[in-house]
């Protein structure tokens, strides 16, 4: 079987657009609202989820035939929890500031519906390689929305991107004011709603 057969491409690309975990499945909203007040934590969170979905998918897919059916959810949880703990330890060691900013939300990746959803729906019945693609695809689909929302919120809420000031001081001198609303979690919900709206209007076609 070719590594990038048509089927595998679909497995990878679908979650980016037509079957996006946030836009279509509406999973993982809670963390999407919490970590997107700035771009940097949004990117790190997106990457963390991508890595964890990809590897938990691969691991579960590798051992899928040995998992006793009655405790499969427990086994999935143990694998996910182990990966999440490792990722949070690595963040603490190499990106301390970001891990402080993300605080509990790294740990809460364990309860992110996207992970359990993909493990149950895909990894339990597919080979490792498609499972890996599916995990990366879903993670990136999630990260994509986080980055869009995070960029909007940081730009309008703080006038900067990734901590660098974008809106020049001259604008502030003319009376431009950062929109404090953008830094509140409620605005993230509204922005996600707008993104879903645009997506439905231009990209999504009912089957």
């Amino acid at each position: 079987m070719a590594l990038f057969s048509k089927q595998n491409k679909e497995v990878f690309c679908n979650p980016l657009n037509l079957d996006n975990p946030i836009l279509i499945q509406v999973l993982g909203i809670c963390s999407a609202l919490a970590v997107t007040s700035q771009l940097k934590p949004a990117i790190v969170m997106g990457l963390a989820v991508t890595v964890i979905t990809a590897f938990s998918n691969v691991i579960i897919s590798l051992i899928r035939n040995t998992i006793p059916n009655r405790i499969r959810i427990v086994v999935q949880l143990v694998v996910v929890a182990a990966l999440v703990t490792i990722v949070s330890q690595i963040l603490k060691a190499f990106a301390y500031d970001v891990s402080v900013q993300l605080s509990v939300y790294v740990g809460l990746i364990i309860t992110n519906c996207i992970l359990m959803g993909r493990l149950e729906a895909f990894a339990m019945m597919n080979k490792p390689w498609p499972s890996f693609l599916d995990g990366v695809g879903n993670g990136l689909g999630y990260a994509m929305i986080l980055v869009i929302v995070g960029a909007f919120r940081e730009f309008f809420g703080r006038g900067s991107l990734l901590g660098f000031q974008i809106i020049p001081d001259a604008c502030y001198d003319f009376g431009y004011v950062n929109n404090g609303m953008m830094t509140m979690p409620a605005m993230a919900l509204i922005l996600v709603g707008c993104v879903i709206w645009v997506h439905r209007a231009y990209f999504y076609k009912e089957k």
Partner: protein, 228 residues
């Protein structure tokens, strides 16, 4: 032979093996990364102390260098940490604060100067789990922390007069609390009262040597300046 993956013994052995493997893996990762995490935490403490001295926006190496330059001595007393600092020839004492907020612990550093009448030089607060946008403002809002600057710490009886209140009667000692975060502000208030009560006398005891040295140096400098 095909394994019966639904038998009880298989399930028990399977879960036991899985858990042991995961436990070893996590223990290994934890051990391997511990030194780096500790270094990060130590650097974070140094940065917080510098924040309380109104030195902000430094990255890792700069903060390390600045800390070494500014902080002259540190000491423990009754489980509290005190730091003796010197900024532009002036003695500044930093006291570590610990208290309770609304949902969890709060902590911070407060820098005091002027020995005759201790006055706030700067503050920095940190929290574990206060509400974002409300209680978390004690950490996030630099403007609120700057309100403390210049406030007198003790009243005439050497009780802590510095307080966080809803309605400011005495602008020399009181700070307006964070809107919508009364309980967290009360926590900050209690923390200040609790940690600062003996702070000055303790610090005098701990740092008397360094203070004398510093004062000698500065008086020498002054006389030199006068001579010139």
């Amino acid at each position: 032979m095909k394994l019966n993956t639904n038998s009880n013994s298989y399930i028990i052995i399977y879960s036991a093996v899985l858990v042991v493997i995961v436990a070893f893996l996590l223990a290994f990762v934890y051990q391997a990364l511990k030194p780096m995490q500790d270094a990060n935490v130590a650097l974070d403490v140094k940065k917080q102390i510098l924040y309380s001295l109104n030195i902000r926006n430094l990255d890792g190496a700069e903060a390390e260098a600045k800390y070494a330059e500014v902080v002259k001595a540190e000491a423990d007393m009754d489980g509290r940490k005190y730091y003796m600092c010197n900024i532009d020839g002036e003695n500044v004492m930093v006291v570590a604060l610990k208290g309770m907020g609304l949902w969890g612990g709060i902590s911070g550093y407060i820098a005091l100067h002027n020995r005759q009448q201790p006055t706030v030089y700067g503050v920095y607060f940190n929290h574990e789990s206060e509400t974002a946008g409300l209680g978390a403002e004690i950490k996030d809002s630099q403007a609120w922390q700057e309100k403390f600057i210049g406030k007198r710490v003790y009243d005439d009886n050497y009780d802590v007069a510095l307080s966080v209140v809803k309605k400011v009667d005495d602008a020399t000692t009181q700070v307006d609390c964070v809107t919508g975060a009364t309980l967290t502000s009360n926590g900050v208030d209690a923390m200040l009262k609790d940690c600062l009560q003996d702070a000055c006398s303790n610090a005098m005891e701990l740092f008397s040597e360094q203070m004398k040295q510093c004062e000698q140096n500065s008086t020498e400098n002054e006389t030199k300046v006068e001579e010139e």
